[in-house]
Symmetry: C2
Subunit: 214 residues, 2 copies
DNA sequence: ACAATGTGTGAACGAATATTCACGAGATTG
DNA sequence: CAATCTCGTGAATATTCGTTCACACATTGT
């Protein structure tokens, strides 16, 4: 056997870990099966990581990096809220198709409880929550959005929809659920279009702007 | 020790199971800790249920019954889509406050994968998906909703929002996330109001198709 | 009153698995 | 080329946990 594996091998290991954690969860995944599927021995896992949880966190951060760079890229293209939403939807669709196990692992994390859950939420959601809230607040104060809304809550609903969209593309349960609603997996473009209509309506409707006499 | 426990005791056991499965997941929960917390021996669990998974399914169905009766009650009061939504939001808020562990267990289930996940989704989501899709389709054909929408997808988005709302009230991760967005847990009434505005907008946006403005 | 039956108990068993560590095959050094 | 070092290996260990079963006691029937 060869010795000294490359940094790419380390990446392989993390990627394998993500896949298995995504399927079985933190408790269900076994270090032995991770090592085997990654083509290394268990020993090496414990050489690089203190224990299972430590390894799990490493997988998480590896995954968060790719998600963050995605968000960063979309964010850099400053745009109106609706155009921004379209870019975001497309980016999330593409990411979901390329890295479904990352999304699935992320979903597993949301099942954690207690103080760790709070920490993880702050760590993971911090960036997007600040971003979305700012975008919505801007839109609200500039008059592009109805003014009788709470920007924080609207940003929250907005993110809820995007989050569920990703789960619906990647997690078996949510995939089945989406098929149940749509009678089969809908085209990406249809989902994009309809979700945008849903958002557009929510963002720009203002009852007080509708003239009484039509 | 006493002998022969009552049907209420069996309910206690299921309720305890739900609580522990909700916190630890199917893999993480231990039969011994469930038995201990319920105040019975492990043996009795295996007298009534074939194995852990069988017991888990019993807990699930116990929980689904209460959710279904809730939905049934709200559904029985036929009403316009928006009034119906208000009733539904309130009912879900109240249910989340009274039975948070049921929602948490439900969330755990969404993390399952493979064929079991598909089955569970069909079992759990069947009722509400048919109901919501019918409501939205009715609204669309009667002109109460904009007509350029796909009723299935709008019903899907609608349910996504309600689902995330429940998680946000019950699961530690989502609770922390909601606080992150809102800077603290918002009042039930504020959430109700804002979510209704979000939905109202999405449902009735196209003003040329609105039969009569008020 | 007492045998027969039903039912909860919890110690015991075995399978699974997180973690350790003595080993040895290459890499490194002089 | 030999001595030493580095680092992956995987069998061994300890622990946890699902599951079983011989037992004890309450209930029921006669």
């Amino acid at each position: 056997m060869l010795k000294k594996f490359s940094p790419e091998k380390l990446e392989d290991i993390l990627e394998t870990g993500i896949e298995i954690f995504a399927d079985k969860g933190l408790h269900g995944a076994g270090m032995a099966s991770i090592a085997q599927q990654a083509g290394v021995s268990v020993g090496v896992l414990y050489k690089y990581y203190a224990n299972k949880e430590d390894f799990f966190r490493a997988c998480l951060h590896h995954s968060l990096n790719s998600l963050e760079s995605l968000l960063q890229e979309v964010t850099s293209r400053e745009d109106k809220l609706l155009n921004y939403s379209r870019q975001l939807i497309r980016a999330l669709q593409s990411f979901s198709a390329r890295h479904p196990s990352h999304i699935r692992m992320y979903h597993q994390i949301t099942a954690s409880s207690g103080e760790p859950a709070r920490q993880l939420a702050a760590e993971i959601e911090g960036l997007s929550s600040r971003l979305y809230t700012r975008l919505i607040a801007d839109g609200s104060s500039s008059g592009a959005l109805r003014r009788d809304i709470d920007p924080a809550l609207f940003a929250f609903f907005f993110d809820n929809l995007l989050m569920m969209l990703q789960f619906s593309y990647c997690c078996d349960y949510y995939k089945a659920r989406m098929e149940l609603y749509c009678g089969g997996m809908p085209e990406d473009s249809l989902v994009e279009e309809q979700l945008l209509r849903f958002l557009e309506s929510a963002f720009t409707f203002d009852r007080s702007l509708v003239p009484h006499g039509d």
